[in-house]
């Protein structure tokens, strides 16, 4: 399984043809206490760079953009009851949605773990 990172602070796990997407620990730290996550419904076609989800703290709503194009196959229902999972386990239990990958080449140019870490260090 390979994990990729975007400059918008999303992570993508690729397993076969399915990608799991969430936001990084760094991102949740910046956002503060997450109170709500609006997720795309299964079957939604996402286009790379376009709105995919919204993550809300008390005083801010931030758009999460689709890191790659594809179709949503599952949204993380656990976030509906417990949005705080994004704070406590952003890169595991707090995943946002799973999607198909239309074009694997879109993953090229994304960062790996190490590159993302140094990207954050420079912010």
């Amino acid at each position: 399984m390979a994990r990729y990172f975007t400059e918008e602070h999303e992570w993508i796990d690729l397993e076969g043809d399915t990608a799991t997407v969430g936001i990084t620990d760094y991102a949740q730290g910046q956002l503060g206490d997450i109170v709500f996550v609006e997720l795309p419904e299964s079957g939604t076609m996402l286009e790379k760079g376009k709105d995919a989800a919204v993550v809300e703290s008390v005083k801010a709503a931030s758009d999460v953009y689709a890191p790659i194009s594809g179709e949503v196959t599952e949204a993380n229902a656990a976030l509906e009851d417990d949005p705080a999972l994004v704070n406590t386990s952003p890169e595991e239990d707090g995943w946002f949605f799973r999607m198909t990958v239309s074009d694997k080449s879109q993953l090229e140019g994304l960062m790996d773990d190490k590159a993302y870490k140094s990207f954050c260090d420079e912010l």
Binding site: F36, E38, E56, S57, V58, K59, A60, A61
Partner: protein, 455 residues
């Protein structure tokens, strides 16, 4: 200039602190050619409290106050007795001169009141959650239509309006739909004893985002909405129920019980008064928890403070314009907070027992009036069912009759010609509202005057 505390000495001292030679220097960014040098011409100069009061009293005397007439107007605004303590409470400076409760630690009074208000409205409407108020019933109705479009994620473009929806409410929806490009299906009502609910159902299709019905409707009729709710839900549409007379809900089933998804209405009847049309009180509630985040307007919620004490805050604010800006659920900011307080105090004074009694007293007098007016030669009562308002047919242009009776200080009702000027078929209809403030003498006065005018 009794509202200005600065003295000339203060002004000089302050200018010195600022380092400005005179107050005009503070306006140096205003281009000189646009800066006014003296008071605007043509407007009067300042006046004493006594003089202003006299002027305003003179204007007020040119109006016929409802309480000075035999009064039968309704059509979305009703005259009820408001207990004296309501006005006393809303004039307390801590309520009257507070702002939107952005600093909850020093706004618990407003916030707790709003929490109580939201609960009262939700219960009255048979809903899950109500918001902290909108401008009035008509704008709340439009906001509900806009919300239904959001729930449908913009994929459904058709809005089905009942013909028996208040025509001004329908006009507001149509005005706004011109800009959002929703398609509005609407026709004016037929003068029948029963509303044409099956005709309405026939207009619902797969492209329908919502169906809007009024309950009791503009002609005063009361009918079961469940079949409309079922038909709407079958097509994936929401049922929006509009209520313009909250007192009715002390006597009839709540819209929530009959499958409504969004219930909106005018709260003016309780606590607010007639006020020539405003400020009024928009009520807005939903039956499903999953729709709460699509609601417009402010919401007050319960929480705890740092010491664990219960307290209240404005919440789910990310829906709103000050955070979400162009993606907000509505552009509303200021709502009708003080009117919400008046409503809440009035309904607290009534309690369930009082509200039910008030409703039954309205209905009793309305039944009496309908029976009495039916005896006037030439007058027929349209409705089989009504709460405190019903339609009579006069067999002649009702507008002219209304004007004639007004000369005798009888405000006989709202002519359908005024409400539906484009529909000549309705011109002989008169909408008559009767509340607990109407006396049996008033009813007799109206009936005998109608006898004279129609003969």
């Amino acid at each position: 200039m009794r509202y200005l505390p600065l003295t000339e000495a203060d002004r000089s001292a302050m200018l010195e602190t600022i380092g400005a030679p005179d107050v005009d220097a503070l306006f140096s960014d205003v281009p000189e050619e646009a800066r006014l040098t003296g008071p605007i011409e043509g407007l009067p100069m300042h006046a004493s409290e006594m003089a202003v009061e006299k002027h305003m009293r003179r204007l007020s005397k040119k109006n016929l106050a409802a309480s000075d007439a035999a009064f039968f107007l309704g059509a979305g605004a009703y005259k009820h007795h408001v207990p004296a303590s309501v006005d006393h409470i809303i004039q307390r400076g801590e309520f009257l001169t507070a702002y939107t409760p952005y600093q909850p630690e020093i706004a618990q009074g407003t916030l707790q009141m709003l929490f109580e208000f939201q609960t009262q409205v939700a219960r009255l409407y048979g809903c899950h959650v109500a918001n902290a108020s909108m401008y009035d019933g008509s704008t709340a109705c439009w906001e509900a239509v806009a919300m239904a479009s959001r729930v449908a994620r913009g994929k459904k473009r058709k809005v089905v309006l009942s013909g028996a929806l208040h025509p001004h409410y329908a006009e507001v929806v149509k005005t706004m739909a011109k800009f959002t490009e929703d398609e509005i299906a609407h026709a004016s009502p037929a003068l029948q004893a029963q509303p044409d609910n099956y005709g309405l159902i026939a207009r619902i299709d797969d492209d329908t985002s919502c169906v809007v019905v009024q309950y009791p409707d503009i002609l005063g009729r009361v009918s079961d909405l469940q079949p409309i709710a079922d038909a709407a839900h079958e097509k994936g549409a929401l049922l929006i129920v509009v209520n313009t007379e909250p007192v009715a809900l002390g006597a009839i089933k709540s819209p929530g019980e009959m499958g409504a998804d969004i219930v909106v209405g005018e709260g003016q009847s309780l606590g607010v008064g007639l006020q020539f049309g405003g400020p009024y009180l928009g009520l807005f509630a939903v039956t499903s928890p999953k729709h709460v985040r699509q609601m417009p307007g402010r919401l007050c919620g319960e929480t705890v403070d740092a010491e664990g004490k219960r307290g209240f805050v404005l919440t789910l604010s990310t829906r709103e314009q000050h955070i979400r800006r162009e993606k907000a659920t509505s552009n509303i900011c200021t709502n009708s907070g003080l009117c919400a307080l008046a409503f809440s105090v009035h309904i607290t004074l009534l309690g369930e027992k009082g509200l039910r009694r008030l409703a039954m007293e309205n209905h009793r007098l309305a039944c009496h009036a309908a029976d009495r007016l039916a005896k006037v030669p030439g007058v027929s009562v349209l409705n089989d069912s009504f709460f405190n308002e019903f339609t009579v047919r006069l067999g002649t242009d009702a507008r002219a009759v209304v004007r004639k009776l007004a000369e005798r200080d009888i405000l006989a009702g709202v002519s359908l010609g005024r409400l539906f000027p484009d529909n000549a078929d309705l011109a002989d209809g008169l909408l008559v509202a009767v509340t607990e403030t109407t006396t049996e003498e008033d009813i007799e006065t109206l009936a005998s005057a109608l006898e004279e005018v129609l003969s």
